[in-house]
Symmetry: C2
Subunit: 424 residues, 2 copies
C-alpha cells in the first residue's frame, strides 16, 4: 500500500471567471486573477492510497463516501494516463485508488471548496504517481488537468497571486494558471471572509454560467472587450502593491460579474440584502477614509470577502461585527489579533454627515453574518508528511470495510484541524 | 382670472431609459418605449391659473407650496416663450401663474409621479395659453418641452404605447415621443402595480443616471449596441399584440437596466429581497403555464409592475396577495373584479416539482407589498372641465392668501378622487 497526502488552499478571484468557452474542456470565456488564501484558515487535505488489494476506486469527502462524478473521473483518467506514459503501465499508475478528502471549513457555506478540492486532488495524485513539473508533457499540464475538474481549481495550485489565462489552443492545453506574484510579495494584504446566512439555495455555478452565457449579451461583451484590459490593470496593481487600484477594480469586477448574472434570463441573484448592506458599509468606510481602504468581492453566493491591508483589519472586522452582530459570540478565526468593538472615533466618522448633508445610518442586522475568517495571502498546494495522512496504516486496509475506518479518521482529522484553528 | 385644468397618466417603460446624452437638454442615451397606464388608478391633475392680479409665479404640489425648481423653470420659460411667439406679448402669456397639482396616489411611493407631473404641467400650460398641435413650431415641440422637465414625461402625453426617440439633432428638438399604438389597440393588456415596502431611501434617478453613465462600461454598450434592436422587437411585439415576445423582452430589459445599475461605482441597488422574490414568483408562474403569461418590470425602486393579459389578472393578483400578505386587509384598487384567494389548483401547479425533481417553495413575506393597483392601458393627457379645477373662482384670488385656499381645495379634490377609486 502506498499513500500520498497533500493540502490545498482556496482562492478568491479579483477578476472574475464566469462562463465556459468550451464545456467539455472546461475552458473559460475570459481570463481571471485570484488571491490564494492562507491555509491556516481554509484548507482542504486529501490522501490518495493505492495498492493491488483495492478492487475499485472510491472517494470519501468529509467522512461521507461520494460517487465518482464526471469531473473527478476526468481528472483521475488524465492523471493516470499521464502517469502511465511517464512511468509505464507496470507502475502504481494502474492500481485502483481510495481517495479521502476533508475541508477545515463548513462545506455547504459557499466557500469555494471545489477549487481547493480539485487542486488538492491533482496535487495528491501527482505525488502518488511521482509526477513533478519536470514530467509535464506541455507547460502547465497539472494546472490544465485541475482546470478540467473545476475551472478555478487551477488557480489554487499556486500561492500568492495567480492568473488563469483563457488560452487560445483548441485542445485547451494553454488554458492554465500562472503565478503573477508569490505569497511573500504583499505580506500586509489580508482577506476577511464574512460567512453570510443564506436561507435560499443558490443557482449552482455550473448551471448559472451556462444560462448567463446563453442569454446575457452583457457577458459576451464583458468577456471579449472589458476583461482583457482589466487583467492588465489588475496585474499591474498587484505587482506595484497598489491597494487603491487593486481594491477599486476588485469591487468593480465583482459588481460587473453580478450584473451579468442579473442580465441572465431568468435572472440569477447571488447577493442578498445583507450582501448589499456590506457593500454599502465598505463604500462608506472608504468615503470617510478618503481612499480605498477596503474592497469587497462576492462569488456565486452572498458571502463577502473583504480585502484590507493589515493596519485596517481591526477597523473592518469590528465594523462588520458591530453591524451584523450574532446572538452568541461570533466565531472569528484569525491569524491577527482583533478586538471586536469598533472605536467610538471610527463610529463617529462612519456616521458623520456627508458633504451633501446626508447622514449615514450604519446597518444593524443581527444574526446575518455567521462567522468570519481573517486570512493572509498564502502558499499553494503542499505535500504533507505521512503522519498527517487521512488514512490508516496498510494493515487496516481490508477491502470489505474501509469506509468506516476512513470515516473515523477523517472526522478525527477535522477535529484536530479545528482545534488548531481555535487555539490561534 | 383664467384657469386651465388637465389630467395626465403615468407610464411604465418596457424598454428602459437610463442615462442622459446631454444633461442640459435632458436627452437620453437611448430610445425607450412605455405603456401608458389608465388614469382611473394613477392620475395627476394640474390647474394653471393666471391673471394680472398675480405678483409672482407659485406652485403647490399635493397642498404644499414648493419652490420653482430648475426643471419647472425651464418648462415655464419654454412654454411662455412659445406662447409669446404664437400669441404675441400682449396676451395672457406674460402673466404670472399659480399652479396647483395633485396626485391620486401616494407621492413618495416611487410611482413615477414626475412623468405624470411634468406631462400634466405642459398640457395645462398649453391649454392655458391656447396652444395646440397646430401651433407647434417643429414636430413634437410639446413633447420636447415635457422631456426637458422630466425625460419620461414626454411619454405620458400620449395614451397607449409610446416610443421616445433618442433623436439626433444637437438642439434636442427631435428627441420626443411618438405613439406606437393607441389605448384601444390592446384592450386586454393589464398592469398590476405592486407597491413594495421600502425601508431605505433610494438613489434619486437623476444622480443614479449620472453615476451609471460616468462609471458603467456596460451602460454605454447597452445604449449603443443593444437597445436599437430591442426597440424594433418591442414595437413589433406591441403592434402584433404578441404577449410572449412583449413579456419576455420587458423582463429582459428591466433586468438589464438593473444590471447596469449594479455595474455602477458605487453600485446602485433598486431591487430588494422582496423584488427578487416577485421576480422568482413570476418566472415560476410562467414555467408552470408553459408560456410567458406575466412579465415584471422595475423602475428606480423596488415596486413591481406586472403586465398580464386580462384572463390571467385574477391568478397573478391572488398569487401576490397569497405570498405577500398584509396584516390588515390589503388595498387593491382595480378596474377588474379580483378574488384575493388563489385557487387550490393554481397553488398545486405552482408548488409542483419541476422536471429536475426540484420543488418550488412559494415565498411568504408578510407586510412587504403594501397595496396593488390593477390598471388597463389608458389615454394620454386630457383637458378637464372648469368644475374639476383645483383652484377656486376668481373672487377668491387674493394674492396675499391664496395658499390656504389651494390647500383646502387640493385636499378636497384628492379626497374625491380617492372616493371615486374606492367605489370602483
Amino acid at each position: 500500500m502506498k499513500v500520498a497526502t497533500c493540502a490545498a488552499p482556496t482562492n478568491i478571484a479579483v477578476i472574475k471567471y464566469w462562463g465556459k468557452d468550451d464545456v467539455a474542456l472546461n475552458t473559460p470565456l475570459n481570463s481571471s486573477v485570484s488571491v490564494t488564501l492562507h491555509q491556516d484558515q481554509l484548507r482542504t487535505t486529501t490522501s490518495v492510497a493505492g495498492g493491488r488489494e483495492l478492487q475499485t476506486t472510491r472517494l470519501w469527502l468529509n467522512g461521507q463516501e461520494q460517487p465518482i462524478n464526471k469531473r473527478v473521473a476526468i481528472v483521475l483518467r488524465e492523471m493516470k494516463q499521464w502517469a502511465i506514459r511517464v512511468r509505464g503501465s507496470d507502475s502504481d499508475a494502474t492500481q485502483h485508488l481510495h481517495i479521502v478528502s476533508t475541508n477545515s471549513f463548513p462545506t455547504a457555506a459557499g466557500l469555494a471548496s471545489s477549487a481547493a478540492g480539485y487542486a488538492c486532488l491533482v496535487a495528491a495524485l501527482a505525488e502518488f504517481y511521482g509526477l513533478s513539473k519536470a514530467d509535464e508533457e506541455y507547460p502547465g499540464q497539472l494546472s490544465a488537468i485541475a482546470r478540467q475538474g473545476s475551472g478555478s481549481a487551477c488557480r489554487s495550485l499556486d500561492g500568492g497571486f495567480v492568473a488563469w489565462q483563457k488560452g487560445e489552443q483548441p485542445d485547451g492545453r494553454d488554458s492554465s494558471a500562472v503565478q503573477v506574484a508569490d505569497e511573500l510579495h504583499w505580506p500586509g494584504l489580508c482577506a476577511v471572509v464574512c460567512v453570510v446566512n443564506d436561507a435560499q439555495k443558490d443557482t449552482s455555478s455550473t448551471t448559472g454560467m451556462q444560462t448567463t452565457k446563453a442569454t446575457s449579451p452583457l457577458l459576451a461583451y464583458r468577456a471579449k472587450h472589458l476583461v482583457p484590459e482589466r487583467m492588465k490593470i489588475m496585474e499591474k496593481a498587484i505587482l506595484e502593491r497598489d491597494f487603491q487600484a487593486f481594491g477599486a477594480l476588485t469591487m468593480q469586477d465583482s459588481n460587473q460579474f453580478h450584473a451579468t448574472c442579473l442580465d441572465t434570463t431568468p435572472p440569477i441573484f447571488y447577493l442578498n440584502d445583507v450582501s448589499r448592506q456590506i457593500i454599502r458599509l465598505v463604500h462608506r468606510y472608504n468615503e470617510q477614509a478618503g481612499r480605498v481602504q477596503a474592497a469587497y468581492t462576492f462569488d456565486a453566493g452572498p458571502n463577502a470577502v473583504l480585502f484590507v491591508e493589515e493596519q485596517h483589519v481591526q477597523e473592518v472586522v469590528s465594523l462588520v461585527h458591530h453591524c451584523f452582530p450574532t446572538s452568541h459570540k461570533m466565531t472569528i478565526k484569525s491569524s491577527i489579533a482583533v478586538d471586536r468593538t469598533p472605536s467610538a472615533a471610527l463610529l463617529a466618522k462612519m456616521e458623520a454627515k456627508a458633504e451633501n448633508g446626508k447622514a449615514f445610518n450604519l446597518p444593524h442586522i443581527p444574526d446575518s453574518v455567521k462567522m468570519m475568517y481573517v486570512s493572509r495571502v498564502g502558499g499553494g498546494t503542499c505535500v504533507l508528511p505521512a503522519d498527517e495522512a487521512l488514512v490508516d496504516a496498510p494493515s487496516f486496509w481490508l477491502p470489505e470495510e474501509p469506509a468506516l475506518r476512513y470515516l473515523a479518521t477523517a472526522v478525527a482529522a477535522a477535529a484536530v484541524t479545528s482545534a488548531v484553528l481555535l487555539r490561534k
